[in-house]
Amino acid sequence: MKPILDVKGLTRIHGTECPSCLDMTGPEHNTNVCPACGSVVAAANVSFSLQPGEILGIMGESGSGKSTVVKTLYFDQAPSRGSAIFRDDDQSHELFNLNGAEQRWLRNHRFGMVYQNPNLGLNFGISAGGNIAERLLMNDLNHYGDIRRRASELLTRTDVMVSRMDESPKQFSGGMQQRVQIAKALATRPPLLYLDEVTTGLDLSVQARILDLILEIQHELGTAMIVVTHDLGVIRLLASRTLVMKYGRVIESGLTDQILEDPQQAYTQQLVASTL
């Protein structure tokens, strides 16, 4: 089976960029700020592939570049260079060569995103159901009754009380807001879902229920996912393969079990040791 996503050489540099940027930053230099020009190397030469239905983990501390990777793939940011091929049924798209309209189409129809901050993923000015309706309307579902039905199915599936469907998500708890975000992301049954620190800041019991939900969805719908987190527990539970990032570079990658049992890099060893 061909990978659903092939990412090669993905690089994102904030600032003026000079020839030294890549040579003078990274884990061996202990910085992602170029000493020559002051540019920030958020991600450099990130390459990986993702199989349909697979969950890939990207782990690292804040500033490691892990969020940058999903933000470029979801078109929130443009990469400085690199390529990403998305295979959708029998079509394949070179994501960074698409025009703005094509990118927005993929975003609205074929990708889902769940942000750490629900403010970014949800419109608090409208109801929880309205948030889901908007995504369904983008997909040309134009029947009010069907939209109501589908929105309540999705909220039921993500354990949000349907009786609260017509309230603004502003009034919801953090865990519930994440469930609404997940329901919204799943509305179009996308083959690819990005999850950016979705459980960070939530109570442990709430975290556990959301992680269960994500696993169930993967089993039911076969959705491929990229899970970005600094939390080893999330990686352990969800991801079959993992990339470890530091200062914008992938420093270690492989099967999650292997990385957790036998980390090769000193940094990964330290991460694993600190949580065991």
Binding site: H14, G15, T16, E17, C18, C37
Partner: protein, 381 residues
């Protein structure tokens, strides 16, 4: 039921015009003399200035007429000038004019104590005490005329300088400011092309040059107070007569066709990090804001210079404050647009209000059908 007349609009309009005209003449009790255009143009010179600049037409006599006709309403007077201008074709375009050639009546710099050519305070209210001068209430004509005619009479011709070097040139020679652009794109003509965002700086400057003074001051002031951080220093503010150079219709040679009174303001703001491609590797420099308008209107020129600087920042990095957002600023500073629309609410809206009532009634019927009574009806009185 009674039949409601649907005639009468024409008569009402004629009546309104008559009443307006009677009040323009001072009404039945004032005993006023008609205002002369000469008095308006010269004695209410700041008002005339403002009307020419907001009307976008340099024509002091027409501006004075507009003020007289509109009974002193600045928005209406500027509007009348604009509407007059709509009937005139554009015959010629001037090349860029050099304000270094201005014949100045006032120029100051707050950046340096001394500037080449010197500071010249000129006619300004800046340091005048705003005390009511009751003697002006009853002014006799002779001393009034004498004041005007004897001013500068004893000043030797050679002590009256013609033009002054620009303060910014000194900073440019020290490389503290970016050099003047070598290549200029043709100026954007807002009277011939619509603003389609994002717009060029030229389009923004043209829009501001004929904007309503108060509207522009309000948005610029928001930036000064903290909804923005330009922190400007006035490098130079100059007021004077700019010779208008036009290509001669036969020879093509630049020829002076006349002069216009203008106010120009250049502000300097602090340097800041610049991530754009073109700035790569360049040393930091001060940044500039530019304001200029017809007539003598310093508040407007300063506001415009600050907004120009704020908008350049917003165009480059994305707006962080209203004053840095080109669409927000440029769409809300035109006096003709905003005043017209505010006043249009006085026109009949019977049909749309009928629609509004229909929606409210249907919605209330549904409330009642569901057994919920709209709130105000449950109040005990």
């Amino acid at each position: 039921m009674g039949y409601v007349a649907i005639k009468g609009g024409e008569k009402a309009i004629d009546g309104a015009a008559e009443a307006l005209e009677a009040l323009r003449a001072g009404g039945p009790v004032s005993g006023s003399e008609p205002l002369s255009l000469n008095a308006i143009e010269h004695q209410l010179r700041l008002l005339t200035s403002r009307i020419m600049s907001e009307g976008g037409l340099y024509h002091p006599q027409l501006a004075a007429l507009a003020i007289k006709q509109m009974q002193g309403d600045t928005l209406e007077a500027g509007f009348a000038l604009r509407a007059y201008r709509s009937t005139k074709p554009r015959l010629l375009e001037t090349p860029p004019q050099d304000t270094g050639n201005m014949r100045l009546i006032r120029r100051i710099s707050s950046a340096f104590r001394d500037i080449p050519g010197g500071q010249m305070l000129g006619p300004t209210h800046d340091y005048a005490l705003r005390l009511m001068r009751f003697e002006l209430a009853e002014e006799s004509p002779e001393p009034f005329r004498k004041m005007a005619s004897t001013f500068l009479k004893n000043a030797p011709e050679e002590s009256l300088p013609d033009s002054f070097p620009k303060v910014l040139d000194a900073l440019r020679s020290e490389r503290l400011l970016p050099p003047k652009a070598e290549h200029r794109n043709p100026a954007f003509d807002i009277t011939r092309d619509p603003l389609i965002f994002p717009v060029s700086r030229s389009a923004a400057l043209a829009t501001m040059a004929r904007a309503e003074t108060g509207s522009m001051l309000a948005i610029a002031y928001s930036n000064m107070r903290g909804y923005g951080d330009i922190h400007p220093t006035v490098a130079e503010l100059r007021v004077g007569y700019l010779p208008v150079m036009l290509p001669h219709p036969v020879t093509g040679e630049l020829t002076e066709a006349g002069e216009v009174l203008m106010t120009e303001c250049e502000v300097i703001a602090m340097y800041e990090p610049d991530d754009t491609e073109s700035a790569r590797g360049a040393a930091p420099e001060f940044t500039l804001g530019y304001g200029a308008c017809f007539g003598h209107n310093e508040t407007k020129a300063i506001s415009m210079a600050i907004l120009d600087r704020a908008l350049q920042k917003g165009m480059r990095d994305g707006p962080e404050n209203p004053s840095e957002d080109p669409e927000f600023v440029l769409m809300h500073i035109d006096g003709v647009d905003s005043m017209g629309f505010a006043n249009h609410y006085k026109m009949p809206h019977y049909v749309t209000f009928q629609s509004d009532m229909d929606r409210l009634r249907s919605t209330r019927e549904k409330y009642q059908a569901r057994g919920e009574t709209p709130q105000e009806e449950t109040h005990e009185s």
